[in-house]
């Protein structure tokens, strides 16, 4: 649903303010409970959902080649990009109730849910049907099964009935009258009861009528007799344009109960919805930011757009955010480049749209001291140039980079690479930098500058890859045979942008180790603090520490014989509670 609310808000919040950074969104730490108008995690800290929607879960699609590969829409790689690159903590997963016929369905669904939870993403399960008017009893039956399957998942929330339509009301009843809300309660209560009957205690989202007026007219009659209810809204740009409208539709409720907005996007392909937004990209961007800020101010959770080409991202490979800069033509069909992605990314990372965008090896906000960082944006060096040798220069192509740490101390960073135009600058965060919020400033030979805010961490595990923090891990695999001789091969091979994981040989009678090129591991307390999994199975860490290449670390793991024949699988690390990017490794037979 297209939604850009109030033009009056534009002046108040023209853009993200890097000086007032939001920082890393809190990782979900359930079980959650509702207290007054807040969602509290297991430690009692308030939690706000910030996320997006995934494409619908279908067991047959998730089993096919599209979804099963590294970059499928529900793959760990994609989910990792949402957490690390987009700084989100929630995904909304639409389900097709008609497919949930047996427990096999829920077993497959649980695999996706666990994958998201492992990558620090709360999952909202949101069942829907292809056609409207599904009888409530069918939905209650679904929840009896679904809630039973997920009652022990602390980082799952149930959206009982997304988008209930007033068309289900008897003729002549206004959806926002007392009768209308009584009907709404009578639809929702059996679903709540069905979920609670399974023993599931997670919060439940109950969505407003999907007519754009949301909870207008609900009053006390709305409140459901359950302690863990979140009220769901789907604001429309066309109908919720002013502060007064927002107050009427959901503002009053947000002061009394937790509210979550979901399912909103620009819908550029929908002529009517698209016509309701300004044609100037800057004006749309300002309004979207203003709306996000308004939700922040009201402490309202939200999921926005969809992890789908042409929605949040341009593609499921580099996960580059869609942009409004290139413009759009309302109703002209899908344009995979146009959307809110870059805007959302910038908002959640507290970066400016056209300023530097700095990530660590994992593609995330946290960048390890002593580790390498990639900055994207207006580099504009004298020419494309790569530093030679291991002693990196402090100035390259007319560019210098300064890192001002949380103690206020500025240090020059050593630089690997600079681009001539809007491109990339690769540099090393000075080892002696203090942890915490820091400012990176790029100074050009013409005395102009660009800067942004990053977070320096002691540990921020990232696997080096050759394509945008995803794909095959970079490193070597070595077999050590009983007679002492060894055999070593690379883990990845690229032809242009096409990178493939090379099979790790697993000869019988030999032990196999993989030495991975990583960043952000060197300050881990001990090997015990590093948890590495391949295909979900934990593997031993043999050693870790700085590599010979500046800014890089090495991580050596054993590949146990039990993994022989696993094939290509996800490789993930957790270090001191921080999760790495997801990369791929191929284990041979």
């Amino acid at each position: 649903m297209a939604w850009v609310m109030c033009t009056l808000l534009v002046a108040r919040n023209g853009g993200a303010n890097p000086l007032n950074p939001r920082g890393l969104t809190a990782a979900p730490n359930g079980p959650f409970r509702v207290d007054h108008n807040q969602i509290l995690d297991s430690t009692g800290k308030p939690f706000l959902m910030r996320g997006t929607e995934l494409i619908d879960f279908h067991p047959q699609i998730d089993e096919n080649a599209r979804a099963g590969q590294a970059f499928g829409p529900h793959s760990a790689t994609s989910l990792s990009a949402l957490r690390l690159r987009y700084n989100m903590n929630t995904v909304r997963l639409p389900l097709d109730m008609s497919e949930a016929r047996d427990m096999a369905y829920f077993t497959k669904l649980a695999k996706v849910v666990r994958g998201a939870n492992q990558l620090e993403l709360l999952v909202i399960l949101a069942p829907r049907v292809p056609s409207a008017g599904t009888p409530p009893f069918t939905r209650a039956e679904f929840w009896s099964r679904c809630a039973a399957a997920f009652r022990d998942y602390p980082n799952v929330i149930f959206d009982a009935f997304p988008d209930p339509s007033p068309t289900m009301l008897p003729a002549g009843i206004d959806a926002h009258s007392a009768d209308g809300w009584n009907t709404w309660r009578s639809v929702m209560m059996p679903l709540v009861q069905a979920i609670r009957a399974t023993g599931a205690k997670q919060p439940i989202i109950l969505a407003s009528w999907n007519d754009g007026r949301m909870f207008e007219g609900a009053g006390d009659a709305l409140l459901i007799d359950d302690r863990n209810i979140i009220y769901g809204i789907s604001p429309h740009y066309a109908t919720t344009r002013t502060d007064a409208a927002r107050e009427t539709c959901f503002g009053w409720l947000a002061r009394r109960a937790p509210v979550a907005a979901n399912g909103w996007d620009l819908e550029l392909e929908n002529p009517a919805a698209c016509a309701a937004i300004p044609s100037d990209p800057a004006a749309v961007s300002d309004m979207i930011r203003a709306n996000l800020q308004d939700l922040d101010d009201r402490r309202i959770s939200w999921t926005i757009s969809v992890l789908e080409p042409g929605k949040l991202v341009k593609e499921l490979y580099f996960f580059h955010g869609t942009m409004l800069d290139s413009g759009w033509t309302c109703g002209s069909g899908p344009d995979l480049r146009a959307g809110l992605g870059r805007l959302i990314e910038g908002y959640l990372r507290s970066t400016e749209d056209r300023s530097l965008f700095v990530v660590g090896a994992a593609g995330g906000l946290d960048i390890p001291r002593g580790g390498f960082a990639n900055g994207y944006g207006p580099v504009m060096a004298e020419r494309d140039v790569r530093a030679r040798g291991r002693r990196l220069p402090l100035s390259l192509g007319g560019i210098t980079v300064q890192v001002t740490d949380s103690a206020g101390i500025s240090r020059p960073a050593r630089i690997f690479w600079v681009s001539e135009g809007w491109g990339q600058v690769d540099f090393v965060i000075p080892e002696e930098s203090a942890v915490g919020r820091a400012r990176v400033t790029l100074l050009r030979h013409d005395a102009s500058r660009s800067s942004t805010v990053i977070t320096i961490a002691d540990t921020a595990p990232g696997f080096r890859t050759l394509i945008s923090c995803a794909g095959p891990a970079v490193g070597t695999a070595t077999q050590v045979f009983a007679d002492g001789h060894t055999f070593t091969r690379q883990l990845a091979q690229c032809k242009g942008l096409d990178c493939r994981a090379v099979e790790v040989p697993m000869s019988k009678g030999a032990r196999t180790e993989a030495r991975l090129l990583v960043s952000g591991f060197r300050h881990a307390g001990s090997a015990r603090d590093i948890q590495v999994t391949i295909g979900g199975r934990r593997v031993p860490v043999l050693s870790y520490g700085p590599d010979a290449d500046p800014g890089m670390d090495q991580l050596t793991i054993a590949i146990p014989p039990s993994l022989r024949g696993l094939g290509e699988a996800d490789l993930i690390a957790h270090v001191s509670g921080r999760v790495s990017n997801v990369v791929r490794i191929r284990i041979g037979g």
Partner: protein, 395 residues
């Protein structure tokens, strides 16, 4: 004590002849231009060059001056597709803007050998194919005319005091070069935004256009028109001497003589159609475009690059790809290009015609005693310098 003021005066005079002492008044981002050792910049030399630049006595029939094809109100170009000389002979190529020519690593459209403004200045004066100013064979009479002018009787000796005979065509060329070198544009909205840090100096559309311009996957214009001067044929003091690159943009499938670009100099087939990437500073004011002025507007220039293979040429620069821009990208790119316009150059009295009475009373100045004339000139220069400036000179 009496010796101190004399010493200061001597120091000031020495300083005046010191090239390092010339105040370029450059803002942040603009390096010092390179200048030949045998023609150091000085204020008086720039002034002399300015008078010569606008002096029609420097043409065979006293109908044209340098300013005929390099008009201040047209960003020191002439607004025509191709120019014509003093005798009416047409020129094959469009007159290039002289704004920021101090930073040009190669001069004219396609001559890799012509690298100093001093050398270039004599080309229009004496060339016969085609005739531009047509002074060949008229050197003596031209110099006689200059000697007869009170302004020059004041300025030539002061600009070239070290010469026994300052009135030479070589010195005239040096003075012209010095003036041309002084025409630096640095107050465009984009300059103020990019190096001046004025966030509101350009509109949002131009900011988006900047990204379009500087991104390979979109327009990638910066590959040939990058850097502070928006050209890849740039030099300045301290810069390593690069080989100047010339580019075939596939403007034509067959380039007609004598407009075959670098080929006219090298005779190599692979150089057909290759021309210098001109600076895009003030590009919105220097229409028509391309080496032969064959494209009337910036919009049409973008259409040419969007045509992609419409004109295929074996020498086409591989960096030039089909420009696939959305309408928004195109509008933003145009907004960016227009933000490179420094309108102050159009009216800057430092570069204006000094012979026009409303601009200055130079004849009166020159007719006075030299000491007073110097004083007036100094006052004028001081007045020029007191003009409001958007950017603070770093050098």
């Amino acid at each position: 004590m009496r010796g101190v003021p004399v010493a200061l005066l001597m120091a000031a005079l020495l300083l005046g002849s010191d090239p390092e002492a010339y105040d370029w008044r450059l803002p942040r981002g603009f390096p010092k231009p390179r200048m030949p050792a045998n023609n150091p910049m000085s204020e008086v030399k720039v002034q002399l060059g300015r008078y010569l630049f606008y002096d029609q006595r420097l043409s065979v029939n006293r109908t044209q001056s340098c300013a005929s094809c390099h008009q201040q109100e047209r960003e020191f170009a002439d607004g025509r597709a191709t120019s014509s000389g003093a005798t009416g002979e047409p020129h094959p190529r469009s007159a290039m803007s002289l704004v920021n020519v101090a930073y040009a690593a190669a001069l004219t459209w396609a001559d890799p050998t012509l690298r100093s403004l001093e050398e270039q200045a004599v080309v229009p004066m004496f060339s016969n194919h085609p005739v531009e100013l047509g002074l060949s064979g008229h050197e003596r009479s031209t110099l006689d005319a200059l000697r007869a002018e009170p302004v020059y009787r004041d300025l030539f000796p002061r600009a070239f005091g070290e010469s026994q005979n300052p009135f030479t065509m070589v010195n005239a060329a040096r003075a012209l070069a010095a003036f041309e070198r002084s025409i630096i544009s640095e107050r465009s909205p984009y300059d103020r935004y990019h190096t001046g840090g004025e966030e509101d100096a350009i509109c949002e559309s131009a900011k988006r256009g900047e990204a379009v311009f500087f991104t390979d996957q979109v327009a990638g214009c910066f590959r040939c028109h990058g850097g502070f001067n928006f050209s890849d044929a740039v030099t300045y003091k301290g810069k390593e001497a690069d080989r100047v690159r010339f580019h075939n943009t596939a403007l034509y499938q067959e380039y007609p003589p004598p407009n075959r670009g670098l080929f006219e100099r090298t005779g190599r087939w692979s150089d057909i159609g290759k021309f210098k990437a001109p600076s895009l500073c003030n590009i919105a004011l220097t229409a028509p475009y391309m080496h032969d002025g064959s494209i009337a507007t910036l919009e049409e220039v973008l259409k040419h690059y969007a045509a992609g293979r419409a004109h295929q040429h074996p020498n086409k620069d591989p960096r030039i790809h089909k420009l696939e821009l959305s309408p928004q990208n195109r509008a933003d790119l145009l907004a960016f290009l227009r933000a490179l316009t420094d309108k102050e150059v159009l009216h800057d009295p430092r570069f204006a015609n000094p012979w026009e009475p409303q601009r200055t009373s130079v004849r009166a100045v020159a007719s006075r005693r030299p000491g007073r004339g110097e004083g007036q000139l100094a006052k004028r220069l001081a007045a020029d310098r007191s003009r409001p400036r958007h950017l603070i000179a770093a050098n």
